[in-house]
Amino acid sequence: MGNTPTKLYPEGPTYNDTEFVNDADILNHKNYKNRSKNVSLANTLLNPNSNSMVGENYTNNTRQKQYSIFNKIDRDKDRKKYVKDREKLKEIHARGLVVKYDECCDGGFLAPFGCYNFDKLDYNIDIVRSLIIERKLAPFYTPLQDFDETWSREEIIKIVDGLPLHATFEENLEEFEDVPIGDLKKPNFDYLVDRSLSKREQRRQHAMIFKARLYRKRLIWQETANESFLEDKVDAKKNKIKNRYLPSDDLKYSLYKNGMECPICFLHIPGPLNYSKCCQQPICTECFVQIKRSEPHFPHEEVDPTKPITDDNSKDPNLLISEPSNCPYCATPNFSITYTPPTNRRTGIGGIPPSDYCEVAQNEIQKQEISGQEKENKETLGSPTSISASASPLSSSSSSSSGNKHKDIIISNIITSDDIRPDWEAKLKKERSRLAKRAANATAIHVSNQLVDPEYSLRQNSNTSSPAKYSVRGTNSKTKRKQLSLEELEEQMIKQAIQLSLEDQEKSKKK
């Protein structure tokens, strides 16, 4: 598909535009794909960051003559640097999503197993990784597809031994079928771009190649991590050497024996899970990082069917909103979770080596550390009661053990969906100013088009005089945008181009 990688660090219109409002033909998978292709093309064109296409498509425009060639060179340079910087960030982000067996906490990992699409892993990796290390958020665990209560200890250990670090990657994605990736070791891949294409097409191709290369790189990074995991496992077994980072059998057993099915992904995850603050329902971390604010949109109003529908384009951009995510279970606004880390299983980063974990020894340590009242905790691990139990004030306890001190910090911890995507406000502001710019330019374009093409206003009038055309189809512009014909797209492109040239003139005037 023609999606640019803007999805990772979304700035312009993002997948909100490709979201379908139960259209009739979405059920046909082929149409669904083709359509989203068109829409994402529109996204690229409408995205203010996709930059200039001035001078390529509309030789008719008189404004173009005022356009300085030097300006263009400068801007091309700026744009290239901007693209390079963004690509660098995306690569760092992708690296942070590699699961490594030696980056582990309490039997889980710092990166997700891969139940959800890479495109949707747009949370802040630094924040999530540190929350896991600080034991404020459950680690990402390798899930089991099924779990049978009757399994013996030996059976469980055998199954866990066969678990991969990451879900299998599809080797050949349809999306990247005909996309060349060149030599991955060389950072520059400009030579792969077809120079005979228009500048804009070249940029699209560049973005696509980058995406395909990044996918391939991720696959290689993860495979490398998988291989060292496997080799070290084999090594440890053959030579009977302890590898500190490999979990002991006790740890493997204890993890999955005390697991539960996450109500969102239906997978068996080692406990304790995170719990929703509002209604105490469990949620695994892989599902938690999927829950986020709505993309910026206009509020949905109940409409009076006897009155005409207001067009989104005529709405005040400041009315754009992005509501905080609701609890998936009880719909309480501003979804947040709490997490009580296991008291008997502090392994990996900030704990004992996973290879040293021994159920009996751990329990002994625990007995010495915790007060009598808290002992019940370990029996009810993973159940909602463990939260309320540990939430009782500890100040009365005179014990100065490190265990208690650690707990004190955890209790006050509530992680909201916004905490792991702190860029939401910037995104909303950007979308508002994008719409504002577009509205302002629409007027300018209307005027300039009238100058160039006397029939323009006639065509415009005939278009706008038939609002009924849309009224049956939907109540917002999302639906309309999907219906853009090629001509309309072309028109949007031109609008965009003029907008950019206007902005440029503004800039050069200021200088």
Binding site: N22, L267, V303, V472
Partner: protein
Amino acid sequence: MASLPKRIIKETERLVSDPVPGITATPHEDNLRYFQVTIEGPAGSPYENGIFDLELYLPDEYPMEAPKVRFLTKIYHPNIDRLGRICLDILKTNWSPALQIRTVLLSIQALLASPNPNDPLANDVAEDWIKNEQGAKNKAREWTELYAHKKN
């Protein structure tokens, strides 16, 4: 296409092992994300005694995105347009990944029992419903008779 997520497999199994009264959902042989659905019109509604065909598709992003559902049987309802598309909050902005195929179909059945003409998809039907509720209900009953399968 990537392998089917466990959640979809389990939901499908549970739909078979623990079916919802008045509702069926059968996955397509070639595409396990595509379901053929039937919903019985609720008793006491103008859709009573009719069985309606629907199709349901689970997009790649499911369950983070809502299933796509549409009526295949023609139906006279203010929240269902002539293409069968359904205006239901949980299929759009109020979707939650904790909802399931089962809960979606139950909500659609509930929508048949209590239409909401103030949030319409089919404007002409909604207008009709507000101005002349009895007349609209009669028409809905007529259409059920004409287009839906008969119960038994």
